[in-house]
């Protein structure tokens, strides 16, 4: 959507170009041209390093591409193979299950922490930094640490359970526990980013709205449900989309913590893509997996937009 800024001394708002006359809308003002010039380098980089490779992946997915550079056009054979590939179905199921666990967990954790921090006045910056710290930690490092925490024989968690005369629990060795365990690790690692965005969203809600609700007799839950949450919806939608995409792309933690096991219970789509491309050198097939993943994430994001991120 093209927009144009009001001249100095105007209302200061942003007015859709559609409200201008056709002749004026078709011409670029000097400021717009300057803006375009500033954006151009990034745009060129984005096209060269994002869209061109994606176009390359589309082409690759229609070929049987060999390590030596030889290739043959096989049309949609990679896609039909995917449909009948049991491993693809399994890894898709793993990815969807992981997403269902990870997204609510991370969003709730981020929202809860953001609400707490919003209330805190004393050393808020310090606590914000503490909660954000895992985000800047390497996922590999985090996964190694959590692998030790979950260890069936000498892990921290089983140590605690042992004191309580419970366990031991093989968190990473049991199919029903492995995805929640990895989701907790990823949520711990990544919630700081969403927390900051939600905190910024909370801080931008005018206090007068909450004060008006208080005067009307709303209790804290009602203020949260009917004032905070609706005001936070655009930010929440952004966080939801980002975390969903993150969940669909899960790989590193699974690679380090379980190697995709036990019995492929943590073998995600991106893991399969990695193995197909870089372990088995089946580049065409790997590209097809990547594009199917792209399509799934796109559809899920659009559905989320319809459900949560309505433009009102």
């Amino acid at each position: 959507m093209t927009t144009t800024l009001d001249p100095p001394g105007g209302t200061g708002g942003v007015r859709p170009a559609g409200r201008l006359s056709g002749r004026r809308a078709g011409r670029l003002s000097g400021r717009s041209r300057a803006g375009l010039l500033f954006v151009a380098p990034m745009l060129v980089l984005f096209i060269v390093f994002r869209f061109v490779p994606v176009a390359g992946a589309v082409l690759l997915s229609l070929t049987d591409y060999r390590l030596s550079g030889q290739w043959s056009f096989i049309a949609v054979e990679n896609y039909t193979r995917l449909l009948s590939d049991k491993m693809f179905h399994e890894s898709l199921a793993v990815t969807l299950t992981y997403t269902v666990i990870f997204v609510p967990l991370t969003v709730l954790l981020s929202l809860g922490t953001a609400l707490l921090l919003h209330q805190v006045v004393w050393r808020r910056g310090f606590f914000r930094g503490v909660f954000f710290l895992p985000y800047v930690t390497s996922i590999v490092l985090a996964a190694v640490i959590w692998k030790w925490i979950y260890d069936a024989e000498s892990g921290l968690l089983n140590g605690i359970l042992g004191v309580l005369s419970l366990g031991p629990v093989d968190f990473l060795g049991r199919a029903e526990l492995v995805l929640p365990s990895i989701a907790v690790t990823s949520a711990w690692k990544g919630f700081g980013y969403s927390m900051l965005i939600l905190l910024a969203g909370l801080q931008s809600i005018p206090r007068s709205y909450l004060e008006a609700a208080m005067i009307d007799g709303a209790d804290s839950w009602q203020r949260f449900r009917y004032v905070t949450l609706p005001q936070l919806r655009p930010v929440l939608f952004f966080v939801l989309v980002i975390e969903t995409i993150q969940a669909f792309q899960v790989f590193d933690a699974m690679y380090v913590m379980t190697g995709g096991g036990p019995v492929r219970s943590s073998y995600s789509l991106v893991y399969m893509l990695y193995d197909s491309g870089f372990k088995y050198f089946d580049f065409g097939y790997a590209s097809a997996i990547g594009l199917v993943l792209f399509a799934i994430v796109l559809v899920v994001s659009l559905v989320q937009r319809r459900l949560v991120g309505r433009d009102d």
Binding site: G173, I242, K279
Partner: protein
Amino acid sequence: MKTSVSRILAPLTAFAVAATLAACGDSSESSSTGSVTVWMYPVIADEQANTAYWAQVEKDFEAANSGTDLKVEQQPWANRDQKLAAAFSGGKGPDVLLLGPDQIPQYVKNGSLAPVDKVVEPVKSSFLPGALTALTTDGKLYAAPIYHTITTTLYNKKLLDKAGITTPPQTWDEIKAAAPKLKAAGVATLDYSASPEATLNLNFYPLLWQAGGSVFSADGKKAAFNEPAGVEALTFLTSLYSEGAIPKSGLTNGNVIADQALGKQQVAMGFTNTPADAKTVTTTWGAGNVVVGMPLEGKKRVGFGLPGGLAVNAASKNIEAAEKFLTFMIEPKQVVALGTASGFLSPRTDAKVPAKDAQAEKFADALQYAFPGEPNPAARQVMSLLAAEIQAALTGKKTPQQALDDGAKAADDLLSRQR
């Protein structure tokens, strides 16, 4: 939304950049430049010693071959196939590279390697026959052996003593007999790495070979691991696992001794350990507690061990100089020097690496039982398929026969699709 789009595209981009940009590589005709690039890996565990050793090789080779500029580039072991894949797919990569037998068939299939028969031919009779066979594909030798590895059993004497076991178990039957005693002493018996990322060459396959079985049929077109020998090997494993004789952490362990129960002194023995493993535990257990034995014996005694060989990139611009380097590196003097520095063994029968200590002597003795595995272009994929089934058997989801049959079915399907 722009951020969202860019995040959606990220994995696709990462993959496509690696695959498509690599494909835009230079594939121009080779010309003799007198320069040879070698991709070498940390064959000498000590990083500084490794760097110094290869710097000296550069000097010695250049002194003996004036006009040839040798560059030995150090690469990490991790993700080496991924890096090679990206390099080869762009028609690039080093002139010479270090490869193991299981890597060679897939690169030969893709036309990435040049045969090196003429380099080894004059001294062929001086090499262990198994070393040359392991590096041969479709009747041609694709790498010149410069060292040989062996894996064997490693025991923690302190833990065996704790269970009152005076003679370390050397056969499957002795392991089964030792397991209850070790359990009573609060110790697991056998270390095992069942992570799907751990190569089966260092966990299930040696047991399969010890049981007299094989991974593939003789023509390499069918899986053979679900035959009775395979079932026997997997039953041996699952019974130990269910008794607690194999630690539960084995399901997620890779083959890194310091991270494994063996390294942490929670288990009494390993069965596919290297000289480097022995060195590592010597510092943590104390030299007196480290016992190196012969490879395990089931129906026969087999230890996984393979030659490391130097291969030549078919797209090299200077194949002649690359072959000169191979000739230089397989000379007895170089083989012994590398073996002495790295702790690896000699692939030559006429050049022995002097054993530094009793541990090294034991590993040298074990070399006679070395089996280099079964090279197959689909070996890695088959490992992935089978690793998941082994986990299914260990966790009791399938019987050993069911697990191996399911693995074989998937492997046969994969092998039938090999173009």
